[in-house]
Subunit: 143 residues, 12 copies
C-alpha cells in the first residue's frame, strides 16, 4: 500500500474560520476527512499535516523521503519566497504536486512566482477544496 | 446534458509524432478517445478541437458561449503571449480551465507568464495526457 | 470621392452580446450603421471589416494601400503585441488612426504599451462607440 | 448652458513662435479663437487657460469643480510626471479629456507614460490643432 | 516656546469638499483647529500652511530654517516625485516628519516610493486626521 | 476593556544589548514597561510578545483574532520578505499597525518594500522607543 | 535529391512595392527566381512560400517535417514575438536557418530579441536579397 | 554686445547659509558678483536669476529666446525630473549649458539621470563656484 | 581558548543521504568529526549546529554573541532570502564567515544574491566538505 | 584587387586545441587556409589576424581604414561588452560583417547582446568554420 | 611647477581623419598643440598621451601618481564599461577630471552611464576641442 | 611536482603603495614571498604574475593549459565585466579558483556580479592577503 503526505503551509489552519462569507464553512478538518475517504478509495495511506513554520515543513518533507511515496504540497505563502522548500523537495526524492486553493496567477503580482514549481511534477490551482481530490487522483499513478 | 469544449492550440497536433522517445506514442487522437470515454462516464457531451491559428481559437471560444457550458483550454505557446485569447475568454462567459501537458513553470522563463491565467477558474499543468482527465473531473462540478 | 477602411480586430464582433450590463446593447452592426451615416455626411466611401485573425488584418491593410485613402484601426488586443501590424501599417503608406473603445491607459499594465502607436497619425481612446465618429472627423482632413 | 475649461500646460504658450517651419504659424490665440467658434456652435460656454506652473494648473482644476462641467486638459510635459495633477483631476469630479497636439506615443520613451490617463475619460493625441475641435465634440455628450 | 510648521501640499485644500462619502466632512480648517488645540496643550506655537505649488513649499521650508523648530510635512503627491523638496528639507536643518492621511503603501505602486523619506526623522501614514495629532506628539520631544 | 497585542519580530530581543552606543540602553523590557503604563492610562489590556520565528508570529496573529482587539506589529526584517505574515494579518481580521524603531525608508533599498503595509491600517516608523507610545495612541480609537 | 523550404512571414509579400526608393524594386518573385536558380545549381529541390498568418506558417513547418530536409525561415515580425514558431521549429526536427533582409540588431529595441534563434542552426541578417543566396549555401551541407 | 542668462533653480538661494562647514561661505550673491566680473571681462551682458518655482524657470527660459543669446542653467533638483524644462530649452532655441556645483554623478542614483542633458550643448559638473566661470568661458564662443 | 560556532542551515542535515551519486557519502556527522579534529589542531573549542528553522538559527547567532568568538555560517537557502539573518549577524558582533559547499554563483540566478554577504568578513564557496577546513583556517586569525 | 581583413578576437587562437571532442580538430590555421583559397577564388587579397587584446583589435581596425576595403570581424567575447570596438568600426568607414562560429543567440543571456551589431552591415552566426566562407561571399559584393 | 597628464582613450587618435565633415579637421595633434600653449600660459608642465589599450591607460594612471599632480581623462568608450579605470583613478590619488568631446548624455543610452564619474572631481562634456582648454582651467586650482 | 599559476589582475600592483592606512603595507611582493613559502610547504611549483592588461591575462591563462595544473585568479575589476576571461578559463581546462582580497559582495552593486564565477571551482573573498594562503590550500587537492 502506497502512502501520501498532504502538507499544508501557513494560514491554512484558518480555513473555514476566516471570512466564511467568501471561503465558505469548509475547514481543514473537512478537507482532511474528504481526503481520507478519497485516499481509502484509491487504496492510499494518508498523512495530513499543517504548519505555519517553514522549518517544520522542511522537517516533514525530509521525513517523507522514507515515510511516504509522494507528497501533495500546499505551501501557501511560502510558495513564493522559499528556496529552502525548493531544496527540501529535491532532497526528498519523491514525486511532489504543488497545490493551491485559489488561482494564484489571478491574484497579486507577488503570488505569480513559485519557487517550488521548478522541482514539482505538476501544479493544480484554483479549484478550492476540490483541488485536493484532483491532486490525489493526479499523484496516484505516480507513486 | 452539459457540453464541454476541449480546445488545443499550436503544435499540439504533432503529439505522438514529435520526439516519441520523449513524449511517447500518445497522439492527440489517443487523448481525444480517452477524453470521450471519460466525458461519457461523467455524462458530458464533448467537443474536441485543435488549431495552430490564434484567430481560429478565438472564433471557437466565441462560439462556445452559446454551444458549450465550459471549456478546457490547452493554449500551448499562445498561453504566454496572447492578450486576444485573454479577452476572448472573458467574452465567452463560461468557466474555463487552463491546461498544460508539461510543467511550464519548470521550463524557460518565457513560459512562466500566462496571459490567460487571470481569467480562468484554475490551472492544471505537468501531468501529461492524464491532465485532460483531471481537467474533466475539475470542470464537471463547475458546469 | 475618398475611401476609408474601418478595420476592427479580435473580440470586437462580440460587442453588444458580451456583458450588455456594462457595454450596453450597441453592436458592431449598430456602429457600422452609424459610421455609414457619418461617412455619407462627410462624402467618404466606407469599408467596414472585423477579423479575429492577425494575418487577415495584415492582408486587409496591404489591400488598403491601393483600395483606400486612409484607415481607422481598432486593433483590439493585437495593439499591444503585434509588431507585424506595426510593419503592415508602414507598408500600407496611408494615414492610419489608432482607435480604442475603452481608455486602455486606465486598464491593466499590459494594455498601456501600443506596438502600433509609433506608426499612426494619432490615437483616440475611451469614448466608446462615439470614438468612431470622432475618428471619421479626424481622418477626413488627412485623406 | 454647459461650461468647459480648456487648460493648456507648460510651453504651449510658445506655439506658433517656436519652430514655425515645423509647427506652422498657428498660435495658442488662433486655437483659442477656433475653439470659441466651435464651442458657440455646440452651445458651450468656454474658458481657455494656459500656465507653465503646475501649482496654477492644480488651482484651476480645483476651481473647475464648481465653475465648469468638463475639462479638456493638454497638460504638456506634466502629463508624464505629475501625480499631483492626477489627484487634482479626481478631486475635481468632472469629466476630463487628455489632449496632445503630437502623437506622444511615437516620441521619446519618457513621453509614453501618462500619469493622468488613469483618471480621464479618454485620450486624443496626434491631430495637431484639430485635436481641440475633436475634444470639444468628444466632451459635449459627457457634460 | 517652540514653534512648529505644519505644511500641507497639493490637493489637501480639497479635503472635506471632495468625495465626502469617503473622506468624511473633516476639512483642512477642522484639522487646523484640532492641531491648534493640540499645539496649545503641548505649549507649541503653530503655523499651518497649504499650497499646491512645489516652489512655494520650498520657499516655506527655507523660511522654516529660522522661523520654526520643526516641520510636519504632508507633501501629498509631491512626496513621490520631488527631489527638490528632498533637498529643501536638508537645507532647512530642522527635524521633519513625513505625514500622510492615507496608507500610501496600500495604494498604487507609484505612491510606494517617497523621495523625502530618506531625509526625515520618521513617517506616519494611514491614520487620517488623527495622524496630525500623532505627528505633534512625535515632534514634541524632537524640538 | 479592550485588549492589544504588541508583537515584536526577529532581533528585537537584542535591543539595549546590541550596539548600546548607537541604540542606547533601552531594552525590550524597558519598552514593555513603558507600554504597560501607557496602556493602563488608555484603559487597554496589553499583551507583549517577541519571537525570532516567523511561524510563531503567525501563530500569535491567528490567536489574536479571538484574544485581542488590535495588534501593533514590529515585524523587523520579516516586514520586507514575508507574504505569510501578510496573509496572517488578513486572516486575523483585527486592526493592525506596522511599527518600526528606525526610519526604514532611509536605510538599505531592501528595507523600502513592506509586504505587510498593504494590509495594515497605517505605518509609524523612525521614532525609536517613542513609536510604541504613538502606536498605542493611534490604535486606541480603532479598537 | 534534397528539398528545402524557404518560408517567408508577414509583410514580405510587399517587397518591391513598398518604399521602392529604399528597398529597391526587387520583389518576392525576383527573390524566388534567384533562389530557384541557385537551388538548381546546388541540386536542391526548392519550395518557396509566404504567409502573413502565423498559424499558416506553423502548418507549413509541420508539413516540412516529412516534405523537406531543411528550412530557411524569414519569419519577419513574428521572429520577435512567436513562441509558437519556436515550438514548431523544434517539432519539425529539420535544420532551420533564421534569415532577415535587414540588420535587425541595428533597428528598434523590440527587433533585437528573437524567439526562434535558440532553436535554429544559425542566423544570417542584413544582406538584403543576397541573404537568401547565402542561406542556401549555408544549409546545403546541413541537409 | 551678447547677453547671457544664468538661471539657478531650487535650493540654490540657500548657498552659503546651508551647511557652511561643507559648502563654505560662498553665497549666490558672491557667485553673482564673480560672474558679473567675468562677464565684463568677456564683454558679455549678464542676467542672473534664481527661483524655486519650475514654472517661473520655464517663463524665464521662454523670455530668454528674445532677451538673451545663451543660457547657463543650474536647474538643481529639477534637472533629474523635469520634462517641462527639457521642452522649454528646445523652445528657447538658444545655446544652453547644464551646470552643477557638485559632481552629481558621484551622488545618489536618482541624480545620475538628467532630463535636460539631451537638449543642451554640454555639461559642467563638480567644480563648485568655479563652474560658473568655466561655463561663461564655455558659452562665450557659442553666442 | 577561543570558541567557534559552525552553524548549518536548511537541508544540510540531508547530506550523504541525498543523491549520494552526486554528493558522495560524506554526511554532516563526517564533517563534524573532521571539523572537530581540525579545531583541536588549531586549539579552538568547537560547537556544531544544524537547523532547518530560520528562527532557531537567529536564536543561535544571538547566543553566539556571548558564547563564541566567531561563527562559520552555512546558511543554505536562507542565504538568498533572509534579511533577519543579516540583522542577526550584525547584532551578534562577532566575526562571521559565509560558507557554501557548492559554487552558488555557478547555479540558478536566485542563488547569486546573498543577503548576508554584506555583513560577513568573507565568503568561501565551492570546495565541498573541504570548505569547512578552509573556513576554520580563515577564522582562526580573526578570533 | 580588393582587400579584406579577417579579424579574430579573444580565445579564437585556442580553436582545435580546446575541447576537440566538441569543436573538432579544425584550427585557426585550417580556417586561415580555407579562407585564403576562397579569397583567391573571389580575387580578393586577404589579411588574417587574431588577438586577445581589445586595444590591438582597435589598432587593426583603424589601420584597415586605409589598408583594406572591408572587414570580417569575429570579435568573440568582446562582441558583447566593447563600446570601443563599436566606435572603431564607425571610425574605420569600411563595410564590416559580424561573424560568430556558434549561434550566440542560443547560448547564455549575456551573449545575446551585441555592442557592434548596430554598426555592421550584417551578421552571420552559427555555421562554424563554414561561416567564414559565407562571410567572404557576403562581403564580396560590398567592397 | 605643477604637472598635468592629459590621457586620451580609444579611437581618439582618429580625430580629424574620421568623418571630417562632422568632426572638422582638428586632430589630436592640433589639440595637443593648443593644450601645450594653454598649459604654458597656466605655468603647468604637460604630458599628453593617447592609447587604445585599457591596460596601458591603467599603467599611465598608476605612473601619474608620482609623475603628475593631476589628470584630465578622456577615457572614450572605456568610460562606460571600465571598472578597472575606476579603481586605477582611486589608486592614483590625484585630482582627475572626466572629459568628453561630445555631449555623451545626448547620445545612445549606453553612453549615459559613466563608471569613472564617481571617482573624479568633475565632468566636462560637449564642448569639443574647447573642452580641453576648459579642463585645464578647471584643474589648475586643484593641483 | 604540480605547478600552480597565481594570476593577479588590474591595479593589484599598487598594493602596499595605495592607501597604506587602509590596506596596510603588505605589497604584491610580500604576498608573492608568502605564497612561495606556502607552495614549497605544499610541494607545489609556483608562478606568480600580475598584469593590468585583459589581453595579457588571457594569454597567460591559455599558456597555463600546458604549463600549469591549476590557477588562482584574482581578476580584480575584470571579474565583473570580462566575458573574455570567462571563455579563457573554459578553454584552459584547468581547475581555477576565484580570489578577492576584499569582500566584493559587501561593496558597490557593480562588484556583486562575477562573470567568471560560473566557470571556476570556487570563490574565496574577503580575507585579505591570507586569502592567497587559503586558495593554495584549496587548490592543492584539486591538482
Amino acid at each position: 500500500m502506497k502512502s501520501v503526505l498532504i502538507l499544508n503551509g501557513p494560514n491554512l489552519n484558518m480555513l473555514g474560520t476566516r471570512q466564511p462569507e467568501i471561503y465558505g464553512s469548509t475547514t481543514m478538518e473537512d478537507i482532511h476527512a474528504a481526503c481520507a475517504a478519497k485516499a481509502k478509495a484509491l487504496n492510499i495511506a494518508l498523512a495530513f499535516e499543517q504548519s505555519n513554520h517553514e522549518g517544520r515543513m522542511i522537517d516533514l518533507l525530509h521525513a517523507a523521503r522514507t515515510e511516504h511515496h509522494g507528497v501533495i504540497l500546499n505551501a501557501g505563502a511560502y510558495t513564493h519566497t522559499s528556496i529552502a522548500l525548493h531544496d527540501a523537495i529535491i532532497a526528498m526524492e519523491r514525486p511532489c504536486i504543488e497545490l493551491h486553493l485559489s488561482n494564484v496567477h489571478a491574484r497579486e503580482e507577488f503570488r505569480h512566482r513559485s519557487m517550488i514549481a521548478p522541482v514539482v511534477v505538476g501544479v493544480i490551482a484554483g479549484f478550492g477544496a476540490n483541488g485536493y481530490q484532483l491532486a490525489l487522483d493526479a499523484i496516484s499513478p505516480l507513486l
